[in-house]
């Protein structure tokens, strides 16, 4: 009896069990698990919403929903995917892996960490509550402005806009707390001997993301707060009749919004090279060049925001400045691509699921990057802007570049986190279904955009019918394929072949020196890096 208590004590330090364990936990692995689980659930929620949209767009005419409901769906889909699926996934990995990778026993600020996570579920509820109520005929629904909140439309909207504003506040606070934690951890808790320039690339990606978040989230919070006071307290920041300017909001929003794109991607750019080196069985190429490029992209990302609204009207010098500065981002990005491919080159490669996702990711994200470059051309952008071309472009960056990168990370680290191997067969099937149906969903959207179909419309002219139909069918295949992913993860958590400590033959780094799964408290004796 007493031995049992002792063993329990050893393991959990008197931590409560059941739901209270999760509510009060300050353990980085528990919190990481919660972030990742939350992210997966919200990914499915946001995905089902957009399948509703794709079903409506299957053929011309209004079939399933009215235009107002349609507008609510697209905006909530995007907010969920960005803030509740992609960001928490990256934060989940940070929590799990950064302490393991830098040889720290935990994150520097564990209580803050707990709070950072537990702000997310209320935020998600605030975001979706008005929408859910409207499904049952109560109230006038969620915000119907798209995820960008542009006034004056958002000044007209119902209470759903206020809910979304508060939700963004909570999400922002959570992100800033997570970022502060990561910055403090990385600066103070690295194992002796691990200089900054020896940090794993994932830690670098996150460090820059964290700085960007701390710098830009307050601007977003300010912008939506101004919106709130315009709506309810008689201010006129965005109302020309009172001396304000609706375009001011776009400047503030995208001052956050463009860095946000890199915030979502930098962590992925961090761990993809680690995956590539593992499965190429040779160290990543150009570590320093990659680190400097990440910094360069981080810095450039805060000075290019106005390329999101070239057609709003700007003086010629401003147009030229934002065009050329945007093009300049392609240089450090090219360095990264060069290093990634050079890491594969003359390696001894094998193609387990994480590697498949990583290589597919390079190709698809490449398409996103190249189409982004042409969007920088002001004159051509007048055509692309707000057309389906842009929708396709940002899904190549956010779905392929973001979510598919995260999937590579999931397959890569899942055996370490659970101690079991996932099913390689299902993993590969998941990859091929995802990659193919993703392309079939979004390639047609490039052509739709060129042909002149605007985004955010619930119904379209007959000439757009065929491509929309293909895109909708493929989107359903894409959506259903993700059930394989969920199944694979769940069965891997439940059991399966035991994973070795190193898991992958070519894996390098401190996280692979621990057992799989790692003990609840790892690195109680600090490792030393030479």
């Amino acid at each position: 009896m007493s031995t049992v208590t002792v063993a329990h004590h050893e393991e959990h330090h008197d931590h409560p069990t059941g739901i209270m364990r999760w509510l009060t936990t300050t353990n980085h692995k528990d919190i990481g698990t919660m972030y990742l689980t939350f992210s997966l659930i919200m990914f499915l929620v946001g995905g089902s919403m957009i399948l509703g949209i794709r079903a409506e767009l299957f053929k011309p005419g209004l079939q399933l929903m009215n235009p107002d409901f349609f507008n609510q769906l697209i905006g909530i889909h995007a907010l969920i995917m960005i803030f509740a699926a992609l960001m928490p996934a990256a934060t989940g990995f940070a929590n799990w892996m950064i302490p393991l990778q830098i040889g720290a026993p935990d994150m520097a600020l564990p209580r803050l960490n707990n709070w950072g996570f537990w702000l997310l579920p209320p935020a998600a509820i605030l975001l979706t509550l008005p929408f859910t109520l409207a499904l049952f005929g109560i109230g006038d629904g969620a915000l119907a402005t798209g995820w960008t909140f542009y006034p004056p439309l958002s000044l007209q909207g119902g209470i759903g806009v206020d809910f979304a504003i508060f939700s963004v506040h909570l999400l922002g606070i959570s992100s800033v707390m997570g970022s502060i934690n990561i910055i403090v951890t990385l600066f103070n808790m690295r194992a002796p001997g691990m200089t900054l320039m020896k940090m794993p690339m994932f830690a670098w990606g996150w460090l820059i993301t964290a700085f960007l978040l701390v710098a830009t989230i307050p601007v977003l919070a300010g912008a939506v707060t101004m919106l709130l006071t315009d709506r309810h307290f008689g201010t006129h920041f965005f109302d020309a009749a009172g001396g304000g300017d609706p375009i001011l909001f776009q400047h503030l929003f995208w001052f956050f919004g463009h860095p946000e794109v890199y915030i979502l991607l930098l962590p992925v750019w961090g761990f993809i090279p680690q995956i590539l080196q593992t499965f190429s069985r040779k160290p990543m190429y150009g570590y320093k060049a990659q680190v400097y490029s990440l910094w360069a992209i981080g810095a450039l990302s805060v000075v290019v925001w106005a390329h999101h609204f070239f057609t709003a009207g700007m003086p010629v010098p401003a147009l030229l400045y934002f065009m050329y500065s945007t093009m300049a981002i392609s240089l450090p990005l090219a360095v990264l691509f060069f290093c990634w491919i050079k890491t594969m080159w003359r390696g001894s490669m094998s193609f387990e699921t994480p590697m498949l996702f990583a290589v597919g990711w390079i190709i698809l994200f490449g398409i996103g990057g190249l189409t982004g470059l042409v969007l920088a051309d002001v004159a051509a952008d007048a055509q692309y802007h707000n057309s389906y071309f842009v929708v396709a472009h940002f899904h190549y960056t956010l779905f392929a570049g973001g979510i598919m990168g995260i999937m590579a990370g999931v397959y890569y680290w899942l055996p370490k986190m659970t101690g079991h191997m996932y099913s390689e067969k299902l993993g590969k099937l998941h990859f091929w279904l995802t990659a193919i149906s993703f392309n079939l969903t979004f390639i047609p959207q490039f052509f739709l955009g060129l042909a002149g179909m605007p985004r955010r419309i619930p119904d379209y002219a007959l000439q757009f019918a065929e491509f929309n139909m293909i895109s909708s069918i493929a989107a359903f295949v894409l959506g259903l394929s993700q059930l394989l992913f969920v199944y694979n993860i769940v069965s891997c958590i439940k059991g399966g072949k035991k994973a070795t400590d190193k898991v992958w033959e070519g894996a390098e780094g401190l996280e692979w020196t621990l057992s799989s799964p790692p003990p609840y408290h790892s690195f109680t004796d600090q490792p030393v890096v030479k």
């Binding site: 040779k282 190429y285 150009g286 392609s330 691509f337 470059l373 042409v374 390639i443």
Partner: protein, 388 residues
């Protein structure tokens, strides 16, 4: 390899199934203005360059994926950082190429395109003003013979067509009652604004698109080189009717344009004359029904039931059944006249959009139909007086 066969197969199916639609557009529609032509060139050039980059990098990757496999017994070869001058030179070459593409091959023409796009005044032979409002475009000719011509352009696709209860016409969702008419070959300066939220006036074949911002004037221009009917759409999310505010432009020869201007002027003169005469209730009701269904039914619904709480009902609404004029003959604040002329919150102000007759008719209609039966009549002359 397996993998690539599958990808190739998938893409093959895609291309084959689409190839069936031979006349289907794979690129921008035929450009008819200098701007659109310029854009098409930029786009084509860039797509070629990026395809070339993409395919060559892909080829390198595919080679590596085949050749450098563990299963083939390939042993990893350690990388060396470039050290000699020659090696560094070769490493820098790709970046020199990229610099060249970004800032010379793309960058220099882009500079000229921007300058051309923003030069709205030079050699412009006429000026029009376009106002976006929920959910219709309003056109006004500001100078020349056509000065003073002003009209609203509404979608003509019916609700039945949208709800799949009737066949959809060829120009489903891209058809309007009053298209904008422009002479070919003339540079037209466009002043763009909005009355409520952001809108964006876009015709793909023109290559110009500009945000319409309430309270501000933005500028752009078009010079249509080829007669024809060109269709586009609003491309800034502007509420529930965003998908339903198409742009239709008739580009015609100068003679046809002059004839159209003359006819339009006559029509407007008649409408003004009509405002001075006394109208019968029947005529007002008939005209009012038309005006209502075209302009008001999107929000207040054809039946007058509205969509509460966003859009109030007209049927039985306090404003629609209480008196309009005070004892001094002036209209009361918050009366039916006040609301329709001046709007409130989301309810648009109609005084700049509808003429005296239309406003008189629609008020009369709302008070004596849609389940209301107040009995009174508003004459155009009263609206004219109310505007003062």
């Amino acid at each position: 390899m397996q993998v690539l066969k599958k990808v190739g197969f998938g893409l093959g199916i895609l291309l084959a199934s689409l190839g069936a639609y031979a006349d289907y557009s794979w690129n921008f529609p035929e450009p008819v203005t200098p701007m659109a032509l310029d854009t098409l060139h930029v786009h084509n050039k860039f797509m070629l360059i990026s395809m070339a980059i993409f395919l060559s990098v892909l080829a390198i990757m595919i080679y590596s994926i085949f050749a450098h496999r563990k299963s083939k017994g390939y042993k990893a070869v350690a990388d060396k950082a470039p050290s000699t001058a020659v090696e560094i030179f070769w490493t820098l070459i790709p970046f020199a190429i990229l610099l060249l593409i970004d800032f010379v091959i793309m960058g220099i023409p882009a500079y000229h395109s921007v300058v051309m796009m923003e030069d709205t005044r030079d050699k412009a032979s006429m000026v029009i003003k376009i106002t976006g409002s929920q959910w219709r475009w309003q056109y006004e000719y500001l100078d020349g013979d056509a000065q003073g011509i002003k009209f609203v352009s509404n979608l003509t696709t019916t609700n039945d067509q949208m709800n799949n209860a009737a066949d959809k016409g060829e120009n489903y969702l891209l058809e309007v009652d009053n298209p904008l008419v422009l002479p070919v070959g003339e540079k037209v300066r466009i002043l763009m604004t909005a009355s409520d939220v952001l809108h964006n006036w876009w015709v793909p074949q023109f290559g110009s698109s500009r945000l319409a911002v309430p309270g501000f004037i933005r500028e752009t221009w078009v010079q249509v080189e080829k007669p024809g009917t060109y269709r586009g759409q609003c491309k800034e999310l502007c509420g529930k009717g965003h998908g339903y505010m198409p742009v239709v432009v008739n580009a015609v020869s100068m003679e046809e344009y002059k004839t159209w201007v003359a006819a339009k002027k006559e029509e407007q003169a008649k409408a003004i004359a009509g405002a001075d005469k006394e109208w019968t209730k029947e005529d007002l009701m008939a005209e009012g029904k038309k005006v209502y269904e075209k302009n008001c039914a999107v929000c207040h619904q054809v039946t007058g039931a509205g969509l509460p709480p966003a859009f109030p009902a007209i049927t039985g609404s306090k404003i629609s059944i209480s008196p309009i004029f005070g004892e001094d003959g002036k209209y009361l604040p918050d009366s039916h006249m006040d609301r329709v002329l001046n709007g409130k919150n989301v309810m648009p102000a109609w005084k700049a959009t509808l003429n005296d007759t239309e406003i008189a008719a629609v008020i009369t209609y709302e008070r004596n139909a849609l389940g209301n039966s107040v009995g009174d009549v508003v004459q155009p002359s009263q609206v004219k007086a109310a505007r003062q």
